[in-house]
Subunit: 166 residues, 2 copies
Amino acid sequence: MHTSSQIFQEAGLKPTQSRLEVTGVLAQSEYPMTHQDILKELPESFDRVTLYRVLDWLLTNGVIHRIAGEDRTWRFHINNSDLTNKQTTRYNSTPTTSKSNKLNQHSHAHFQCENCGKMFCLNDVHPKLTNDIPPDFVVDSIEINIKGKCVNCAKPLEPLVNPDHR
Amino acid sequence: MHTSSQIFQEAGLKPTQSRLEVTGVLAQSEYPMTHQDILKELPESFDRVTLYRVLDWLLTNGVIHRIAGEDRTWRFHINNSDLTNKQTTRYNSTPTTSKSNKLNQHSHAHFQCENCGKMFCLNDVHPKLTNDIPPDFVVDSIEINIKGKCVNCAKPLEPLVNPDHR
DNA sequence: ATATAAACGCAACTACGTTGCGAAATATAT
DNA sequence: ATATATTTCGCAACGTAGTTGCGTTTATAT
Ligand SMILES: [Mn+2]
Ligand SMILES: [Mn+2]
Ligand SMILES: [Zn+2]
Ligand SMILES: [Zn+2]
Protein backbone atom coordinates (compact mmCIF):
# COMPACT_ATOMS: atom_id res chain seq x y z
CA MET A 1 0.00 0.00 0.00
CA HIS A 2 1.27 3.43 -0.96
CA THR A 3 0.51 6.79 0.56
CA SER A 4 -0.69 9.51 -1.77
CA SER A 5 2.55 11.48 -1.50
CA GLN A 6 4.58 8.37 -2.30
CA ILE A 7 2.52 7.85 -5.43
CA PHE A 8 3.25 11.38 -6.59
CA GLN A 9 6.92 11.24 -5.68
CA GLU A 10 7.55 8.00 -7.52
CA ALA A 11 5.79 9.29 -10.61
CA GLY A 12 7.52 12.66 -10.47
CA LEU A 13 4.24 14.52 -10.24
CA LYS A 14 3.62 17.77 -8.45
CA PRO A 15 1.36 17.30 -5.49
CA THR A 16 -0.97 19.97 -4.17
CA GLN A 17 -3.22 19.95 -1.17
CA SER A 18 -6.28 19.18 -3.29
CA ARG A 19 -4.57 16.45 -5.24
CA LEU A 20 -3.38 14.76 -2.09
CA GLU A 21 -6.78 14.92 -0.48
CA VAL A 22 -8.58 13.48 -3.49
CA THR A 23 -6.00 10.78 -4.03
CA GLY A 24 -6.27 9.92 -0.36
CA VAL A 25 -9.97 9.35 -0.64
CA LEU A 26 -9.64 7.27 -3.79
CA ALA A 27 -6.84 5.19 -2.33
CA GLN A 28 -9.04 4.14 0.52
CA SER A 29 -11.90 2.87 -1.58
CA GLU A 30 -12.03 -0.67 -2.81
CA TYR A 31 -14.62 0.37 -5.40
CA PRO A 32 -14.68 2.93 -8.18
CA MET A 33 -16.37 6.10 -6.93
CA THR A 34 -18.53 8.67 -8.62
CA HIS A 35 -17.75 12.36 -8.43
CA GLN A 36 -20.47 12.63 -5.79
CA ASP A 37 -19.13 9.73 -3.75
CA ILE A 38 -15.76 11.39 -3.61
CA LEU A 39 -17.12 14.82 -2.81
CA LYS A 40 -18.97 13.41 0.19
CA GLU A 41 -15.71 12.14 1.64
CA LEU A 42 -13.99 15.49 1.27
CA PRO A 43 -14.20 18.50 3.58
CA GLU A 44 -17.43 20.46 3.20
CA SER A 45 -15.52 23.37 1.70
CA PHE A 46 -13.97 21.40 -1.15
CA ASP A 47 -15.02 22.94 -4.46
CA ARG A 48 -16.74 20.64 -6.92
CA VAL A 49 -15.09 22.15 -9.98
CA THR A 50 -11.70 21.73 -8.37
CA LEU A 51 -12.59 18.10 -7.87
CA TYR A 52 -13.42 17.73 -11.55
CA ARG A 53 -10.13 19.32 -12.46
CA VAL A 54 -8.12 17.25 -10.04
CA LEU A 55 -9.73 14.10 -11.37
CA ASP A 56 -8.86 15.13 -14.92
CA TRP A 57 -5.31 15.72 -13.87
CA LEU A 58 -5.00 12.44 -11.99
CA LEU A 59 -6.43 10.75 -15.03
CA THR A 60 -4.06 12.15 -17.62
CA ASN A 61 -1.15 11.45 -15.30
CA GLY A 62 -2.09 7.84 -14.90
CA VAL A 63 -2.80 7.90 -11.18
CA ILE A 64 -6.38 6.79 -11.62
CA HIS A 65 -8.64 5.28 -14.22
CA ARG A 66 -12.30 5.82 -14.84
CA ILE A 67 -15.16 3.68 -16.04
CA ALA A 68 -18.51 4.73 -17.42
CA GLY A 69 -21.28 3.09 -15.48
CA GLU A 70 -24.68 2.14 -16.79
CA ASP A 71 -25.95 5.51 -15.56
CA ARG A 72 -23.36 7.14 -17.79
CA THR A 73 -21.55 8.87 -14.97
CA TRP A 74 -17.88 8.28 -14.51
CA ARG A 75 -16.53 6.19 -11.69
CA PHE A 76 -12.98 6.80 -10.61
CA HIS A 77 -10.59 4.32 -9.11
CA ILE A 78 -6.98 4.39 -8.13
CA ASN A 79 -4.59 2.49 -10.35
CA ASN A 80 -2.93 -0.57 -9.08
CA SER A 81 0.63 0.27 -8.08
CA ASP A 82 1.79 -3.30 -8.44
CA LEU A 83 3.01 -3.31 -11.98
CA THR A 84 1.57 -6.43 -13.48
CA ASN A 85 1.91 -5.94 -17.22
CA LYS A 86 4.10 -2.92 -17.54
CA GLN A 87 5.21 -3.28 -21.15
CA THR A 88 3.02 -1.84 -23.86
CA THR A 89 0.18 -4.23 -24.40
CA ARG A 90 -0.37 -5.49 -27.90
CA TYR A 91 -3.64 -6.84 -29.12
CA ASN A 92 -3.67 -8.25 -32.58
CA SER A 93 -0.32 -7.36 -34.04
CA THR A 94 -0.70 -3.62 -33.90
CA PRO A 95 1.74 -1.77 -31.65
CA THR A 96 0.20 1.12 -29.78
CA THR A 97 1.42 3.77 -27.42
CA SER A 98 -0.97 4.89 -24.76
CA LYS A 99 -1.65 8.56 -24.14
CA SER A 100 -0.29 8.42 -20.63
CA ASN A 101 1.55 5.53 -19.16
CA LYS A 102 3.71 7.18 -16.56
CA LEU A 103 1.94 5.03 -14.06
CA ASN A 104 0.33 1.70 -14.43
CA GLN A 105 -2.12 1.00 -17.18
CA HIS A 106 -5.40 -0.51 -16.20
CA SER A 107 -6.70 -3.30 -18.32
CA HIS A 108 -9.02 -5.30 -16.20
CA ALA A 109 -12.72 -5.91 -16.45
CA HIS A 110 -15.38 -4.12 -14.47
CA PHE A 111 -18.60 -5.46 -13.13
CA GLN A 112 -21.64 -3.38 -12.36
CA CYS A 113 -24.54 -4.79 -10.40
CA GLU A 114 -27.89 -4.16 -12.06
CA ASN A 115 -29.55 -4.32 -8.69
CA CYS A 116 -27.53 -2.17 -6.30
CA GLY A 117 -25.50 -0.29 -8.92
CA LYS A 118 -22.23 -0.94 -7.19
CA MET A 119 -19.21 -1.34 -9.41
CA PHE A 120 -16.40 -3.82 -8.94
CA CYS A 121 -12.92 -4.04 -10.40
CA LEU A 122 -12.20 -7.59 -11.49
CA ASN A 123 -8.47 -7.23 -11.36
CA ASP A 124 -7.81 -10.74 -12.61
CA VAL A 125 -10.13 -10.65 -15.57
CA HIS A 126 -8.49 -9.37 -18.71
CA PRO A 127 -9.82 -8.98 -22.21
CA LYS A 128 -9.24 -11.59 -24.83
CA LEU A 129 -10.91 -11.40 -28.19
CA THR A 130 -12.26 -14.40 -30.00
CA ASN A 131 -11.55 -12.87 -33.31
CA ASP A 132 -9.01 -10.43 -34.57
CA ILE A 133 -10.38 -6.98 -34.98
CA PRO A 134 -10.32 -5.74 -38.57
CA PRO A 135 -6.87 -4.82 -39.82
CA ASP A 136 -6.13 -1.10 -40.13
CA PHE A 137 -7.93 -0.49 -36.87
CA VAL A 138 -5.37 0.65 -34.31
CA VAL A 139 -6.29 -0.49 -30.82
CA ASP A 140 -5.37 1.70 -27.87
CA SER A 141 -7.40 0.08 -25.15
CA ILE A 142 -10.02 -2.53 -24.54
CA GLU A 143 -12.70 -1.96 -21.99
CA ILE A 144 -14.82 -4.74 -20.59
CA ASN A 145 -18.02 -4.00 -18.75
CA ILE A 146 -19.89 -6.88 -17.28
CA LYS A 147 -23.42 -6.44 -16.04
CA GLY A 148 -25.34 -8.70 -13.74
CA LYS A 149 -25.88 -9.28 -10.05
CA CYS A 150 -23.15 -8.94 -7.49
CA VAL A 151 -22.40 -11.33 -4.65
CA ASN A 152 -24.66 -9.49 -2.27
CA CYS A 153 -27.59 -9.17 -4.64
CA ALA A 154 -27.56 -12.59 -6.29
CA LYS A 155 -30.12 -14.75 -4.57
CA PRO A 156 -29.19 -18.34 -3.94
CA LEU A 157 -30.87 -20.33 -6.71
CA GLU A 158 -31.97 -23.20 -4.52
CA PRO A 159 -31.20 -23.87 -0.90
CA LEU A 160 -28.05 -25.94 -0.85
CA VAL A 161 -28.55 -29.45 0.44
CA ASN A 162 -25.72 -31.17 2.14
CA PRO A 163 -25.01 -34.19 -0.08
CA ASP A 164 -24.14 -36.27 2.96
CA HIS A 165 -27.75 -36.08 4.08
CA ARG A 166 -29.48 -37.38 1.02
CA MET B 1 -32.57 -7.06 -44.97
CA HIS B 2 -35.87 -6.56 -43.20
CA THR B 3 -38.31 -3.68 -43.37
CA SER B 4 -39.32 -2.06 -40.11
CA SER B 5 -42.84 -3.46 -40.25
CA GLN B 6 -41.49 -6.96 -40.86
CA ILE B 7 -39.33 -6.66 -37.78
CA PHE B 8 -42.33 -5.72 -35.66
CA GLN B 9 -44.57 -8.34 -37.16
CA GLU B 10 -42.09 -11.17 -36.62
CA ALA B 11 -41.56 -10.13 -33.04
CA GLY B 12 -45.25 -9.64 -32.35
CA LEU B 13 -44.77 -6.01 -31.42
CA LYS B 14 -47.23 -3.21 -31.91
CA PRO B 15 -46.01 -0.73 -34.46
CA THR B 16 -46.91 2.93 -34.40
CA GLN B 17 -46.04 5.66 -36.82
CA SER B 18 -43.24 6.96 -34.59
CA ARG B 19 -41.83 3.52 -33.96
CA LEU B 20 -41.74 2.72 -37.63
CA GLU B 21 -40.09 5.98 -38.53
CA VAL B 22 -37.39 5.64 -35.90
CA THR B 23 -36.74 2.02 -36.70
CA GLY B 24 -36.54 2.96 -40.36
CA VAL B 25 -33.81 5.46 -39.67
CA LEU B 26 -31.86 3.07 -37.49
CA ALA B 27 -32.17 0.24 -39.98
CA GLN B 28 -30.50 2.34 -42.62
CA SER B 29 -27.44 3.20 -40.61
CA GLU B 30 -24.41 1.01 -40.61
CA TYR B 31 -23.21 2.73 -37.46
CA PRO B 32 -24.69 3.26 -34.00
CA MET B 33 -26.36 6.68 -33.85
CA THR B 34 -26.78 9.18 -31.08
CA HIS B 35 -30.15 10.62 -30.17
CA GLN B 36 -29.18 13.74 -32.09
CA ASP B 37 -28.06 11.80 -35.15
CA ILE B 38 -31.42 10.10 -35.29
CA LEU B 39 -33.40 13.27 -34.70
CA LYS B 40 -31.70 14.92 -37.63
CA GLU B 41 -32.92 12.16 -39.94
CA LEU B 42 -36.50 12.48 -38.77
CA PRO B 43 -39.13 15.00 -39.91
CA GLU B 44 -38.65 18.44 -38.38
CA SER B 45 -41.82 18.01 -36.35
CA PHE B 46 -40.72 14.84 -34.58
CA ASP B 47 -40.71 15.41 -30.82
CA ARG B 48 -37.47 14.71 -29.05
CA VAL B 49 -39.13 13.24 -25.96
CA THR B 50 -41.11 10.89 -28.13
CA LEU B 51 -37.84 9.81 -29.65
CA TYR B 52 -36.42 9.07 -26.21
CA ARG B 53 -39.51 7.06 -25.38
CA VAL B 54 -39.51 5.16 -28.66
CA LEU B 55 -35.86 4.32 -28.17
CA ASP B 56 -36.57 3.02 -24.67
CA TRP B 57 -39.35 0.91 -26.04
CA LEU B 58 -37.30 -0.47 -28.91
CA LEU B 59 -34.60 -1.25 -26.41
CA THR B 60 -36.70 -3.18 -23.93
CA ASN B 61 -38.29 -5.07 -26.79
CA GLY B 62 -34.97 -6.12 -28.19
CA VAL B 63 -35.23 -4.33 -31.51
CA ILE B 64 -32.12 -2.27 -30.89
CA HIS B 65 -29.14 -2.16 -28.58
CA ARG B 66 -27.25 0.78 -27.24
CA ILE B 67 -23.65 1.47 -26.37
CA ALA B 68 -22.21 4.18 -24.17
CA GLY B 69 -19.59 6.14 -26.08
CA GLU B 70 -16.60 7.90 -24.64
CA ASP B 71 -18.67 11.08 -24.49
CA ARG B 72 -21.13 9.26 -22.26
CA THR B 73 -24.04 9.61 -24.63
CA TRP B 74 -25.86 6.56 -25.84
CA ARG B 75 -25.53 5.30 -29.38
CA PHE B 76 -28.33 3.20 -30.74
CA HIS B 77 -28.08 0.52 -33.33
CA ILE B 78 -30.49 -1.96 -34.81
CA ASN B 79 -30.08 -5.55 -33.76
CA ASN B 80 -28.93 -8.09 -36.20
CA SER B 81 -31.93 -10.09 -37.42
CA ASP B 82 -29.81 -13.04 -38.42
CA LEU B 83 -30.03 -15.14 -35.31
CA THR B 84 -26.50 -16.23 -34.71
CA ASN B 85 -26.45 -17.36 -31.11
CA LYS B 86 -30.08 -17.49 -30.17
CA GLN B 87 -29.86 -19.64 -27.05
CA THR B 88 -29.18 -17.99 -23.74
CA THR B 89 -25.51 -17.25 -23.58
CA ARG B 90 -23.61 -18.65 -20.66
CA TYR B 91 -20.38 -17.25 -19.42
CA ASN B 92 -18.66 -19.06 -16.66
CA SER B 93 -21.10 -21.71 -15.58
CA THR B 94 -23.80 -19.39 -14.40
CA PRO B 95 -27.10 -19.59 -16.26
CA THR B 96 -28.73 -16.25 -16.88
CA THR B 97 -31.93 -15.05 -18.40
CA SER B 98 -31.79 -11.73 -20.14
CA LYS B 99 -34.31 -9.02 -19.39
CA SER B 100 -35.64 -9.03 -22.93
CA ASN B 101 -34.75 -11.52 -25.56
CA LYS B 102 -37.79 -11.47 -27.78
CA LEU B 103 -35.45 -10.47 -30.54
CA ASN B 104 -31.82 -11.13 -31.04
CA GLN B 105 -29.32 -10.52 -28.32
CA HIS B 106 -26.34 -8.44 -29.18
CA SER B 107 -23.01 -9.62 -27.91
CA HIS B 108 -20.40 -8.18 -30.16
CA ALA B 109 -17.65 -5.72 -29.52
CA HIS B 110 -17.76 -2.03 -30.36
CA PHE B 111 -14.98 0.17 -31.52
CA GLN B 112 -14.87 3.91 -31.08
CA CYS B 113 -12.35 6.03 -32.91
CA GLU B 114 -10.54 8.44 -30.63
CA ASN B 115 -9.94 10.71 -33.57
CA CYS B 116 -13.22 11.07 -35.42
CA GLY B 117 -15.49 9.70 -32.68
CA LYS B 118 -17.27 7.33 -35.01
CA MET B 119 -18.43 4.06 -33.55
CA PHE B 120 -18.28 0.69 -35.25
CA CYS B 121 -19.97 -2.61 -34.51
CA LEU B 122 -17.47 -5.42 -34.76
CA ASN B 123 -20.03 -8.11 -35.36
CA ASP B 124 -17.48 -10.90 -35.43
CA VAL B 125 -15.64 -9.98 -32.28
CA HIS B 126 -17.10 -11.60 -29.20
CA PRO B 127 -16.05 -11.45 -25.59
CA LYS B 128 -13.85 -14.08 -24.07
CA LEU B 129 -12.39 -13.68 -20.62
CA THR B 130 -8.95 -14.77 -19.56
CA ASN B 131 -10.18 -15.68 -16.12
CA ASP B 132 -13.46 -16.74 -14.69
CA ILE B 133 -15.27 -13.98 -12.96
CA PRO B 134 -15.72 -14.53 -9.24
CA PRO B 135 -18.33 -17.13 -8.34
CA ASP B 136 -21.61 -15.79 -6.94
CA PHE B 137 -21.54 -13.01 -9.51
CA VAL B 138 -24.37 -13.56 -11.95
CA VAL B 139 -23.50 -12.34 -15.41
CA ASP B 140 -26.22 -10.91 -17.61
CA SER B 141 -24.15 -9.37 -20.34
CA ILE B 142 -20.63 -8.56 -21.32
CA GLU B 143 -19.86 -5.34 -23.10
CA ILE B 144 -16.62 -4.76 -24.94
CA ASN B 145 -15.56 -1.28 -25.92
CA ILE B 146 -12.43 -0.91 -27.91
CA LYS B 147 -10.81 2.47 -28.36
CA GLY B 148 -8.29 3.47 -30.93
CA LYS B 149 -8.10 4.74 -34.48
CA CYS B 150 -10.44 3.62 -37.18
CA VAL B 151 -9.51 2.65 -40.73
CA ASN B 152 -9.94 6.16 -42.01
CA CYS B 153 -8.01 7.84 -39.25
CA ALA B 154 -5.11 5.42 -38.83
CA LYS B 155 -2.15 6.70 -40.78
CA PRO B 156 -0.19 4.19 -42.81
CA LEU B 157 2.89 3.33 -40.75
CA GLU B 158 5.33 3.20 -43.63
CA PRO B 159 4.73 3.54 -47.33
CA LEU B 160 4.32 0.06 -48.71
CA VAL B 161 7.05 -1.00 -51.12
CA ASN B 162 6.27 -3.40 -53.86
CA PRO B 163 8.48 -6.42 -53.16
CA ASP B 164 8.91 -7.09 -56.89
CA HIS B 165 10.85 -3.85 -57.24
CA ARG B 166 13.50 -4.38 -54.65
C1' DA C 1 -71.22 4.78 -28.76
C1' DT C 2 -68.80 4.78 -24.40
C1' DA C 3 -65.18 3.60 -21.46
C1' DT C 4 -60.28 2.37 -20.78
C1' DA C 5 -55.66 2.29 -21.84
C1' DA C 6 -51.60 3.43 -24.55
C1' DA C 7 -48.99 6.80 -27.04
C1' DC C 8 -47.88 11.53 -27.93
C1' DG C 9 -46.51 16.67 -27.41
C1' DC C 10 -45.05 20.31 -24.77
C1' DA C 11 -42.90 22.64 -20.81
C1' DA C 12 -40.33 22.34 -16.90
C1' DC C 13 -36.86 20.07 -14.50
C1' DT C 14 -32.52 17.28 -12.98
C1' DA C 15 -27.87 16.13 -13.06
C1' DC C 16 -23.19 15.71 -14.86
C1' DG C 17 -19.88 18.04 -16.58
C1' DT C 18 -17.68 22.48 -18.77
C1' DT C 19 -16.17 27.32 -19.40
C1' DG C 20 -14.71 31.99 -18.20
C1' DC C 21 -12.50 34.78 -15.28
C1' DG C 22 -10.60 36.99 -11.35
C1' DA C 23 -8.08 35.82 -6.91
C1' DA C 24 -4.66 33.17 -4.58
C1' DA C 25 -0.76 30.44 -4.45
C1' DT C 26 3.46 28.68 -6.39
C1' DA C 27 7.48 28.78 -9.22
C1' DT C 28 11.08 31.42 -11.83
C1' DA C 29 13.99 35.36 -12.95
C1' DT C 30 16.57 39.48 -11.65
C1' DA D 1 14.47 39.77 -1.30
C1' DT D 2 11.54 41.57 -4.92
C1' DA D 3 9.38 41.48 -9.17
C1' DT D 4 7.34 38.62 -12.86
C1' DA D 5 5.36 34.66 -14.95
C1' DT D 6 2.80 30.32 -14.43
C1' DT D 7 -0.40 27.16 -12.05
C1' DT D 8 -3.96 26.29 -9.34
C1' DC D 9 -8.18 27.47 -7.11
C1' DG D 10 -13.07 29.23 -6.25
C1' DC D 11 -17.21 30.89 -7.80
C1' DA D 12 -20.90 31.78 -11.09
C1' DA D 13 -22.84 30.94 -15.33
C1' DC D 14 -23.56 27.86 -18.94
C1' DG D 15 -24.42 23.49 -22.11
C1' DT D 16 -26.56 19.34 -22.86
C1' DA D 17 -28.41 14.44 -22.37
C1' DG D 18 -31.97 12.58 -20.46
C1' DT D 19 -36.36 12.62 -17.29
C1' DT D 20 -40.91 13.85 -15.33
C1' DG D 21 -45.61 15.61 -15.12
C1' DC D 22 -49.65 16.37 -17.25
C1' DG D 23 -53.10 17.35 -20.48
C1' DT D 24 -54.44 15.84 -25.30
C1' DT D 25 -54.83 12.61 -28.89
C1' DT D 26 -55.22 8.02 -30.69
C1' DA D 27 -56.04 3.17 -30.39
C1' DT D 28 -58.43 -0.82 -28.20
C1' DA D 29 -62.18 -3.13 -25.68
C1' DT D 30 -67.11 -3.73 -24.29
MN1 LIG E 1 -10.79 -0.81 -12.20
MN1 LIG F 1 -23.47 -3.11 -32.13
ZN1 LIG G 1 -25.45 -5.64 -6.06
ZN1 LIG H 1 -11.82 7.64 -37.07
